[in-house]
């Protein structure tokens, strides 16, 4: 279907999802308010399929994933990602200085991303407590991206919560020129990149600052709030954190750019 994605504005709020549409006079017109009273952590229109997605953050009933094939007129709930049995959150910065381990369960569906134009059925979801999930069947089923979850920086306990209790993935970028290249932002851990479809990952935090850490230049432990790529110049990345706004113009090796003061 043809999707008027540039003419739609999706607003996920604590009171539900609002959709506005741009009319011929360049005025935003209210279109719908759905999921009334339910916090919407993230909403996305998949421009490949025309499917609208929303991540619900129920206070009591957990995290739910819903989709609409008619731009929000009707919705269906699909099975949300789940952490496999036995997976653990490992935090070496827990109170008391001891490494804390606790069962990993889905706490938040923080962001979603399309998997690339050449992978029309691939979707990603970033979650708290730090798991990246991938679907290869248009969102009907999800699996944990093991290469990231098993990264030594996480299993050694160097991921931890920032604004939320545990580490979470809030940014997912797929290179529009190479869908095997994936960048994510983790709060707190930093920016990670895979160039092999998510099999292996490397931190990309050189040049970032975290003034609140004992080592402000730590490779892992940064607290990006958002990471974005310039869609027309994919070597340009932007990252914002407590300490400023940073950019990288070499696309991958570092975010050394400069600090905005």
């Amino acid at each position: 279907m043809t999707t008027p994605s540039k003419n739609l504005m999706l607003l996920g709020t604590r009171k539900g999802l609002f959709i506005f549409e741009l009319d011929g006079n360049s005025t935003w017109q209210f279109r719908s308010h759905t999921h009334i009273g339910i916090p919407i952590a993230y909403a996305m229109l998949d421009h490949r399929s025309g499917i609208l997605w929303a991540c619900q953050d129920h206070g009591h009933w957990g995290q739910k994933l819903v989709r609409s094939r008619d731009l929000g007129e009707t919705w269906e709930e699909v099975t949300a990602p789940a952490y496999p049995d036995g997976e653990q959150i490992i935090n070496s910065f827990a109170t008391g200085g001891k490494t804390e381990k606790k069962p990993a369960t889905l706490r938040y569906l923080w962001c979603m991303a399309e998997g690339g134009d050449d992978r029309p059925d691939r979707l990603f979801i970033g979650t708290e407590p730090g798991g990246l999930f991938v679907s290869e069947d248009g969102g009907d089923s999800w699996s944990l991206v093991r290469g990231l979850w098993d990264h030594p920086s996480r299993t050694e306990g160097n991921w931890f919560g920032g604004g939320r209790d545990d580490a979470g993935i809030h940014s997912i970028i797929i290179d529009p020129n190479d869908s095997a290249r994936i960048l994510i932002g983790v709060s707190c851990a930093g920016v990670f990149e895979s160039t092999d479809d998510g099999t292996t990952w490397n931190p990309r935090n050189t040049g970032l600052r975290a003034d609140f850490l004992p080592n402000p230049d730590a490779e892992v432990g940064q607290d990006p709030h958002l990471v974005v790529m310039c869609p027309s110049h994919t070597d340009a990345l932007w990252q914002q954190n407590h300490c400023g706004i940073f950019r990288s113009t070499d696309g991958r090796q570092d975010l050394a750019g400069r600090r905005r003061t």
């Binding site: 206070g59 009591h60 009933w61 957990g62 739910k64 099975t79 069962p103 369960t105 889905l106």
Partner: protein
């Protein structure tokens, strides 16, 4: 035959629950009971328990007006004459 009532807040997501209390056959554990509810109301279990099957933090199951003891394994027994009530936490001031 255990009789199960659920908070009306769940009716929004599972309208069939509004038909009234659910009765299940035989004596069973709370875990069995939630499995049976999920069979009758597909998807309901995910609203009550997390990925590992433990009761969600702000959900409570009362058996004969007492909150269950085992919120992780859900091993509390529900006898044949039990009244079960499933609710969410309420807070505020």
């Amino acid at each position: 035959m255990p009789r199960i009532r659920t908070t009306p807040h769940l009716n929004r997501y599972f309208p069939a629950l509004s038909a009234g209390p659910v009765e299940v056959q035989a004596r069973l554990s709370v875990a069995d009971l939630i499995r049976e509810l999920d069979r009758r109301f597909p998807g309901l279990a995910a609203y009550l328990v997390d990925d590992r099957g433990a009761l969600r933090q702000h959900v409570v199951v009362f058996v004969d007006n007492r909150p269950i003891d085992d919120r992780v394994g859900l091993s509390d027994e529900v006898d044949e004459s039990a009244d079960v009530f499933i609710a969410q936490a309420l807070s505020g001031g």
